[in-house]
């Protein structure tokens, strides 16, 4: 299966913030997971070496080591001795559950905010339906223009 880890190094787009209270390595882990879940990183893609990602993000290399170790422990990355770090085969079936996990986080955030603003669950559902209808309308209009 050597061909799977094809040394196809993919530039990863990661943005860090020191203001949002999430540890830096966590932010990297979350964003790599997202890149995998959304298909921007594929099975067999090589991640940047520790030094270059550290230089890209201007962070201490140990933060990258910790992020890669975490993703490795979760089964999303695999290390090939002497060659690099790759998206693992296991990441593929994980993708659906990863997508669900990301959407679940968004849903939780939405529900928490709704509660803070005193919206009932029924009102939230109603709002979601309205938005879906509005988006469908925009979508079909765009299609007509194409």
């Amino acid at each position: 299966m050597q061909h799977l880890y094809n040394k196809h190094e993919v530039p990863v787009h990661i943005e860090l913030s020191v203001r949002d209270g999430v540890p830096i390595y966590r932010q990297i882990v979350n964003q790599v997971r997202y890149l995998i879940a959304s298909g921007q990183l594929d099975v067999g893609d090589e991640l940047p070496p520790i030094r270059s990602l550290a230089q890209q993000l201007q962070v201490t290399p140990n933060t990258i080591v910790k992020a890669y170790d975490t993703l490795h422990a979760e089964g999303l990355l695999v290390k090939r001795h002497g060659s690099g770090t790759f998206v693992s085969e296991q990441a593929s079936p994980l993708r659906k559950s990863e997508q669900r996990r990301i959407l679940t986080q968004r849903a939780d955030a939405l529900l928490a905010e709704a509660r803070q603003l005193n919206f009932s669950f029924a009102e939230v559902l109603e709002l979601l339906e309205k938005r879906q209808t509005a988006l469908d309308r925009i979508h079909s209009m765009e299609k007509r223009h194409d």
């Binding site: 020191v18 030094r51 201007q58 201490t60 290399p61 140990n62």
Partner: protein, 300 residues
């Protein structure tokens, strides 16, 4: 157990009536980046000078690579790279002459690395040091500091007064030393965002005393910022253990606290304060809460 790169024990230093260092103890382990933060005059440079053997420990002890840097300067200095804000370089020398001169002192001097860095920085090595801009001076100083792949890199306010491009050059050299060779770095800076991204471990020093130290993650986890709302604008905040700083915005208070969070929240609730928001503090907020206040009391 890993060998300690630096071990400082109960180090105190007095300059006339000024206390520069007050009972400082710390250790540096290999392969980590240490950030040293503190206001001007807090004692950062004095500490670094002790590590280089430029100052002798009068009270307490300093060990670098297991030995006293004052007693064994050659042994220690050959394994250290140093870059200071002043970047005291020989003004009358050309860059290439200076680097050639320095290479004689360091058996591990890496000419290929020097050539690579000169090219990366687009530095004209035939220029005299006194003709260099501030940024070029920092780049030349940086090459001189890292060319022998030092086991310990000491950077004293390396970013001060430099533009983003040269700051990045410096940080990239730090990253390379740590990532490729597992070196140890101690850098002092007042750019707290930079320290927050670049350090594994932080020392916060104030008026010569080590007021806070730990891994960046632990430090941040131990400090929270609470938004507290009171019904009345006149509500003053009670004195609560664990609150480091508080700032009022109308009915809302921003509170930086550490330690027993449950206790802080309970005490706030007892006086009618409603905690609306809670998040981990940034290093900037922690610094202002811990050091900013001390400075005010000193001035006031």
């Amino acid at each position: 157990m890993t060998e300690r790169v630096v071990q400082v024990e109960h180090l105190s230093r007095q300059f006339g009536k000024t206390t520069a260092l007050n009972d400082v103890s710390l250790t540096l382990e290999p392969g980590l980046v240490y950030g040293l933060v503190g206001a001007n005059g807090a004692g950062k440079t004095t500490l670094i000078k002790h590590l280089m053997g430029l100052l002798r420990a009068k009270h307490g002890s300093v060990k670098v690579f297991g030995v006293d840097p004052v007693r064994e300067p050659v042994n220690v200095l050959s394994r250290i790279g140093y870059l200071s804000e002043q970047r005291d370089l020989p003004e009358w020398m050309q860059i290439d002459e200076m680097l050639e001169y320095l290479s004689a002192f360091y058996p591990a001097w890496d000419r290929a690395y020097v050539a690579e860095l000169l090219e990366t920085f687009a530095l004209d090595a035939s220029k005299k040091v006194k003709q260099l801009s501030k940024g070029m001076r920092a780049q030349a100083g940086l090459i001189a500091a890292v060319a022998h792949h030092p086991e310990l890199l000491l950077l004293d306010e390396p970013s001060t007064g430099l533009d983003a491009v040269v700051r990045k050059d410096i940080l990239n050299a730090v990253i390379r030393a740590v990532a490729d060779n597992g070196r140890t770095v101690l850098f002092s800076s007042h750019l707290l965002d930079e320290v927050e991204l670049m350090s594994d471990h932080v020392f916060m020093i104030n008026q010569g005393k080590l007021v806070l130290e730990g891994s960046l993650e632990d430090i941040r986890e131990q400090h929270q910022v609470l938004s507290v709302r009171f019904d009345s604008c006149n509500q003053s905040l009670p004195k609560i253990d664990g609150i480091l700083a508080a700032e009022r915005h109308g009915k809302q208070w921003h509170v930086v606290c550490n330690g027993n969070q449950a206790h802080v929240r309970q005490t706030l609730a007892d006086v009618g304060g409603q905690v609306e928001h809670l998040r981990t503090a940034s290093l900037q907020e922690i610094f202002v809460a811990r050091v900013g206040r001390a400075r005010q009391s000193e001035e006031g």
